[in-house]
Symmetry: none
Amino acid sequence: MKAKIKQQSILLFEQKGFSETSIQDIVDVLGVTKGTFYYYFPSKEQLLMDIHSNYIDDLLRRQEAIQETEMYNREKLQAIVELLIGDIQDHGPSARVFFREMRHLASENAEKVKKKREQFRLNIEKLISQGIEEGEFRNEMPPDIVAFAILGVTNWSYQWFNPNGEISAERLAAIYSDLILNGIT
Amino acid sequence: MKAKIKQQSILLFEQKGFSETSIQDIVDVLGVTKGTFYYYFPSKEQLLMDIHSNYIDDLLRRQEAIQETEMYNREKLQAIVELLIGDIQDHGPSARVFFREMRHLASENAEKVKKKREQFRLNIEKLISQGIEEGEFRNEMPPDIVAFAILGVTNWSYQWFNPNGEISAERLAAIYSDLILNGIT
Amino acid sequence: MKAKIKQQSILLFEQKGFSETSIQDIVDVLGVTKGTFYYYFPSKEQLLMDIHSNYIDDLLRRQEAIQETEMYNREKLQAIVELLIGDIQDHGPSARVFFREMRHLASENAEKVKKKREQFRLNIEKLISQGIEEGEFRNEMPPDIVAFAILGVTNWSYQWFNPNGEISAERLAAIYSDLILNGIT
Amino acid sequence: MKAKIKQQSILLFEQKGFSETSIQDIVDVLGVTKGTFYYYFPSKEQLLMDIHSNYIDDLLRRQEAIQETEMYNREKLQAIVELLIGDIQDHGPSARVFFREMRHLASENAEKVKKKREQFRLNIEKLISQGIEEGEFRNEMPPDIVAFAILGVTNWSYQWFNPNGEISAERLAAIYSDLILNGIT
DNA sequence: AATGAATGAGTTTTCATTCAT
DNA sequence: GATGAATGAAAACTCATTCAT
């Protein structure tokens, strides 16, 4: 039941937004009562925090798996772009909730999530720095800004990209990797 | 008064979000009463619509001014990137409200704004198509996807870029133009 | 309306207790809606604080008026007993709410009220000390304990005394004054 | 377990009040679940009734033991004052719950407790009447009112008296007995 | 003897909006 | 132009109680 609630909430939060989704909305879909919700979650915010934690922890884990492999930096970068774009297909709703609703976490929770989010970004930054050092990438590009650019390109995709549309996630990832690598090489 | 209300609302919506900002919050800052608000605006949503209209209309006007000049496509693209990044400095709060709170417009209003937003994007797309036709840009890049990439890079900046920080808006615009043009050339 | 709400609340709090009286109960009696309640009071607790403040401030004021007169200490004591017993008739409900529901004030408010309540007690204590010094009362009686005894006797009356019953408030006050003065003289 | 629940409940009811203490609060302290509570008690109110019954039955029993001895009425009165003040030390929490939370008993239970409580008071009244008849006490004092005064003085002590403080329960009982006996003799 | 899942009716509080003045 | 009183619908959350296991 706890899992069902989380899953339905993600869908509703994605469609209507966190503030606009009431506990009533959530439990109505599941055919249970508000009491049930509060049996499993101490508050609406804690549910959101659970969703956020799940999402970012999973993403970080997969990013670190990439970083630990033996590949060229440019290949790792490509893999991360694929990871992010591919996620639209697999965890689109979770991701959109993650990007949009972090503001509704209370300060302490927000802080925790923010740190992990920054960790993800810094990992990309490190990759670029290494690429520059090892001569793979142009050295006049500030690594932090390039990292923000990559996140901008990929994260913005969550707002428009339809993985069941004309062009596939793989193709989009390929185009973006090409664009970025061409841009920084 | 109407202008004052709009201006204060933008700041509050930016800080706390549309749903989390009450009419009471707005009028408190101005030292007036709720009645006053409803004398100037028929509803909270109409206020949001006004903010959105102002923002997107202004942006479109300035984009069209660029498009009408006699420049290379790559120069126009650069000018648009500058326009968007420069706006963080000049209209940051408006912009952030625009990106984040569009969801709170009722269907009819949302539609209008969405059309203009798409118009902005299609104008960029057109620019890229022309650049490809005229041999300025690589022809293996789908123009629509490149347009989304440009918007991603620039719009994402609203989330992290501090125009009073170490690096200036002009410098950031230059870096991003370089990155993009290098990527697609 | 604010006054009406306060007055009705006192009656309901007296009958059913603070926790057992809902805002709905209060506004139902007055034929208005919950919104109206919150137009006048920021919270249920603040209403209780208002009631408490009104009551204790008034009592302290009247006590101090007695203390400032030129009378024997024993006469002043008598006057205070009359004040307290007479209050059952005039402000019985307020008084009962005051005695019973202080616990529901949040710490900060509770502190303020507690201080004033102690002031009232200390004023009685002072009176007794003076009476002992001036030879009016027995000196083997600890003034603080006597003060508690007086408050015990009078405050307990709020729990059983019916001013419209067989014996009048004046008569009860006279009996208690006699009892106490005889006890400490 | 039943005894443990009762005992913990008394402490919690004393600290936070009956309404403010949830079944969850009680079982949390004991490390069991709500089901356990309902295995032993049919309702929250019945638990309160148990607490009340225990307390008042015990008190009545001990009062009657005093009444059956061969002593002067004034000595019996003294013994009852000692009984009540001494109880602050031994059963303070039970007593405070008894005084404060009787209101939460449903009508039928409330009636039963009220009767016993009145019995206790009437026993004191009878003692005073006998004392007057036998010439021990002044005859201008109405026995019922004197009984209320005694209860006022002693019961009020539950609100301020700390048996581990400077003055002992025995000493307080002695002072109060002196005060009362002097007052009515 | 005890648990864990679920309920349903209730609680305080919020807030966009209306409207007579 | 602006106010102040009032509304009504909904929000998040609480909790005594039930019951199958």
